[in-house]
Amino acid sequence: FFFGLLSKPNRRRIHTTNSKMPFKRYIEIGRVCVCNYGSDYGKLVVIVDVIDQQRVLVDAPDMVRASYSVKRLALTDLVVEIQRIPKKTALVKALEASGTIAKFSSSSWGQKIAIQKARKSLTDFDRFKVMVARVKKSAIMKREVAKARK
């Protein structure tokens, strides 16, 4: 049991315990990022290799592996346990095993993205219904506040 623990050093621990730096999220293999800019805007991707100081090799289940400028990526808290440049099937397996995408969707960042997406896809009729609901809700709240004030 003890030897098993030694044979697989947990890289993450080194960062979090010894670090005096303000950075919490690092560019590393397995780091899950959100694409910030360009044609893949909004996609969740995993860093599979580091090219140089500016660029990383990035992969996702639904895209072709590509090199991305670090400037175009917003790092998330999530990290996936993968080897350097895994095969696509290995990457998909690792993502499913860790449930990373579900974890991200349930995080506050993920929820915010979902809300923005929903708002953008509203039709004119939907926007009207939202407005009516908002007005009704605020009317109820104002009524209750006025009651509480008395």
């Binding site: 953008k120 896809s121 509203l122 039709t123 004119d124 009729f125 009207f128 219904k129 009516v132």
Partner: protein, 247 residues
């Protein structure tokens, strides 16, 4: 020379020599294409006057021979050396009515962008022959009557209303033509009185509107909040990015 009637001389006797000379029977060429005898003389020489007389004053007309279709394998005997200019083909001008945008189908809710009813959400009924769109509020809901609208001034939303109960076959551009106004010269009295004639809507048009409304309103009532949606006007609000809006 044709047979001569005894009362009619062949030609005017100018001189004895000319009369008897055989040369007058032939139009001797002076140069290529120019004969010694002009048009009048050759008319007489050829006896065309006699042919006419025989046919009752007109030239005899013979029916044209049916031209046999040339055999397919025969090559033309003659090809013109230079390109023969052909007159340009007259393309028949057919005016088509404006192509209806794919997003506009019967029953679509449109947002009117200009005119008296700008901002109103109306139901599209059908496209008329002129290309204009026939829309209605319905009148009971938002005050927009049966009206024609250019599709350029309408935004199509993705909301649809079921039109199966509504009968729109009787409406066309003719329905909306203004009746010819009786012209009269306004006297001074009339000018100061002000125009008293009020344009009254014919009872037929009111009945048509009611019929359409009766067909549409029950359908609209079935969808929650659709009635109040159609009753409200569209407007731009602060912070709204129009280019990002999905309709």
């Amino acid at each position: 020379p044709p047979a001569l009637s005894s009362s009619r001389p062949l030609f005017k006797v100018l001189s004895l020599q000319a009369c008897t000379s055989a040369a007058t029977m032939v139009n001797t060429p002076l140069s290529q294409g120019i004969g010694k005898q002009g048009r009048a003389k050759s008319y007489h020489r050829r006896g065309l006057w006699a042919i006419k007389a025989k046919n009752g004053g007109k030239f005899p007309v013979h029916a044209k021979k049916a031209v046999a279709a040339p055999a397919a394998d025969k090559t033309a005997k003659f090809y013109p050396a230079d390109d023969q200019k052909k007159p340009l083909a007259k393309h028949s001008i057919t005016t088509k009515s404006a192509k209806l945008r794919a997003s506009i189908t019967p029953g679509t809710v449109l947002i009117l962008l200009a005119g008296r009813f700008r901002g109103k959400r109306v139901v599209f009924l059908k496209q008329l022959e002129s290309g204009l769109l026939l829309v209605t509020g319905p009148f009971k809901i938002n005050g927009v009557p049966l009206r024609r609208v250019n599709q350029v001034y309408a935004i199509a939303t993705s909301t649809k209303v079921d039109l199966s109960k509504a009968d729109v076959t009787k409406f066309s551009d003719e329905y909306f033509k203004k009746p010819a106004a009786a012209k009269f010269v306004k006297g001074e009295k009339q000018f100061f009185d002000g125009s008293e004639e009020k344009k009254e809507l014919s009872a037929d048009k009111i009945a048509d509107q009611k019929a359409i409304d009766a067909a549409l309103i029950p359908v609209i009532a079935k969808v929650p909040e659709l009635k109040s949606y159609l009753a409200s006007r569209f407007s731009l609000k602060s912070g709204v990015k129009v280019h990002d809006l999905k309709f």
